[in-house]
Symmetry: D3
């Protein structure tokens, strides 16, 4: 039986914490689709194309992983892809609450998709995309928190900002 899992998120940008979760997910599922939310409301730093591209570059070499953009309700996307499970990284308490809420709501709407929580390495427990952007914006070094491709994109983005300022 072939099992597909979806790992959804904004990934603005992808971090080493996200990558760590992806590598754990492929040990359990046959295919893992990293699904990037094309969420207009949130005003992301990177375009949906850039976010997808950075993930593709970062997961190169992990054959079971696909990267895709999605609109609308994640649970409908799961059903459309025939996914068994929805992967969530369990980072910290605030997360836990939000994840519970999402998982229970998703369960009500989409009965066949199971929320599966995986735990990243301790050193990624407190990592988030927004903290990465905050550090990068101030010129801090984010090398140990993100893949190389993201580091380059962040440098370009903030260099660009400075030039325009």
């Amino acid at each position: 039986m072939h099992r597909t899992a979806i790992y959804p998120g904004t990934f603005d940008p992808i971090t080493n914490g996200h990558l760590d979760i992806i590598k754990r997910a492929v040990k359990i599922f046959d295919t893992v689709i990293v699904a990037v939310a094309n969420n207009v409301g949130k005003a992301p730093l990177f375009t949906i194309e850039q976010r997808v591209e950075m993930i593709k570059e970062s997961v190169k070499g992990i054959s079971q992983v696909e990267v895709d953009a999605f609109n609308g309700l994640i649970i409908e996307y799961c059903q459309q892809k025939g996914a068994t499970a929805l992967i969530r990284g369990l980072r910290a308490i605030s997360d836990f609450e939000y994840e519970f809420q999402m998982a229970l709501i998703n369960r009500k709407i989409g009965k066949d998709v199971e929320s599966v929580f995986l735990m990243p390495k301790e050193k990624y427990t407190y990592l988030s995309s927004s903290i990465i952007k905050e550090i990068a914006a101030f010129g801090g070094d984010v090398s140990c928190f993100v893949p190389d491709v993201v580091k380059r994109h962040l440098n370009d983005k903030y260099a660009e900002t400075k030039e325009h300022a």
Copy 2:
């Protein structure tokens, strides 16, 4: 002795979780006033009139309940109404923190009003107005989370959005 309690909130819109709390509150208090915050800053989806109207429709038949809009500090509104207690629904941890903060601040300002926490049914533990709006915005079915009148309003609202898009 006649005891009045205030149940304040933004109610944008009212959910089945709110209704569950109201039904519990009327077992303890003689009158329960659902007080809708006319909070300009927050940019609610529904106008204050719509929010009040949806609650009125939803609590029809529970004789001890009144619905009202209020401005300013909730604690002053309580004193003006002669309320003994401020009803709060205890949903989740993040809530708990915020509620503690509000309760302690209210206590400092208005000594005679007691914060009373009630617990909704488990299935409403993780329900919130914002999650409802998120699901509805993507065309998801919210029937089991909100009263009928709210479902109709949400449908109208998002149909309207689509027409204008």
Copy 3:
């Protein structure tokens, strides 16, 4: 309508935090029964008679309060007393979890009794009977944490322990 609430606990011994909750409860309910659990398993420091007596002494002058001992399931005791509500003090997070658990279980068993959570003064937020006993056992001063009668009983208890040692 006359409303009765039960405030259950081990009260081994009663603290100023418990007293604070009792004083809040009588603002909302007509009668508050402080129900002392005669829980053989727990090996309390004080006998059930001593615990009841210390509470009676501490609530003297608050006319709406009754003190009683109970065996078995609290929810059955509530029904037997015709109580509308079960009072719980909300002190801290660990509490919150345990209280949720108890409230949901009680709700399943006894449909007519509502769990009502009240918040003690900030300075009692972290107070517990076991910490009081720990301090008293080491000869620390507990005057600002417990009623006088409890202080006397603790002094007697630990003096007695020393004599026997």
Copy 4:
């Protein structure tokens, strides 16, 4: 590829919450081994044989499930069984902390086994074996919390206690 997961615990006794997790796990894994800890130190209410028997009876009809007893470190048991994953039910906050601790320690010792957290139905969120025993000990009805076989065992156990008293 055949994937085996271990679901470890004391199961003293198994509850509907545990059963709910097992049913979710079999959607994701080919074989789920319910591994009952033969933990002498903990003084369980039921013998290891009774606990295994009650689970076997409860999971009858779910073909992918095996039930077994184990001694020692769970992580070594996983490796011995060739398991990919360790299933954990995520019930509440206190749990979350403990589970994180166990998962991180297990990860340090056994690199190849992934901790996978699943979420039970809301109504089982606050359910635990110890609460079941507490209710049953006082003669409360536990029908909606445990499988029939467990209910019978609990009745026998506490009837027996009364006869000996």
Copy 5:
């Protein structure tokens, strides 16, 4: 050895809770620099100059305290000032999570600066600058939450708002 600690924040405006932490910090460190974040993104109510001025007025008489504004990463500011430690007030759970995150990130970037958490008085546990502004905006009395100078500034600010309205 002379030890300097930095106490960073937005201080929009400073509250009695912040002052309480400062008074605790000077018992442990020789110099405490209150570092006001000149964070353009956050749209503070008060200008950086006003915020610095209010703190200076509030800490007058505590000789070991300096007040300063800073841009960029706090950890670089610490190194530039030769600080041994970064002071953080530990108020509530949500805080705890965020503080952990910041402390771990700071540690990765600036190895020599230690995050030191101090606990304010219980009555300040749930106090925050934003709650103060919310109360003041509605004309509530904030005397017991902020220093006099802040109260005056808040009154001016909201009187000004009303005049322009």
Copy 6:
């Protein structure tokens, strides 16, 4: 000004997490006294002498550290030693609650001693003496969690247990 801090605990046995906190504390204080609680009630695995000895061996080479045993209330011990601060390691949520409680109680009893919370490395966040003992009891390898001297003592202890069994 010479500043002394006390780092109290049961240390049954000391772990790398404790050592990590000690190394952080000496950056801030001139003298750090590791104070081992001679708590008869708790039935520790190691005697007070063994616990003190293992710590002494582990901190050899850190000149500012002293190791001592104490009885009674920690806050009285602090005053007797002229300590400015009480060091606490902040590991996880449950801790946080307990630590808050202890810090507030200590503050009420001993006004001059400040509770100072330090954060261990992420990899020690979930480490505890009891988990170490659990792993060691089952013959698991604890090399990466404790100093060498502790590993040897644990091996001796559990070998001894087996011989007697």
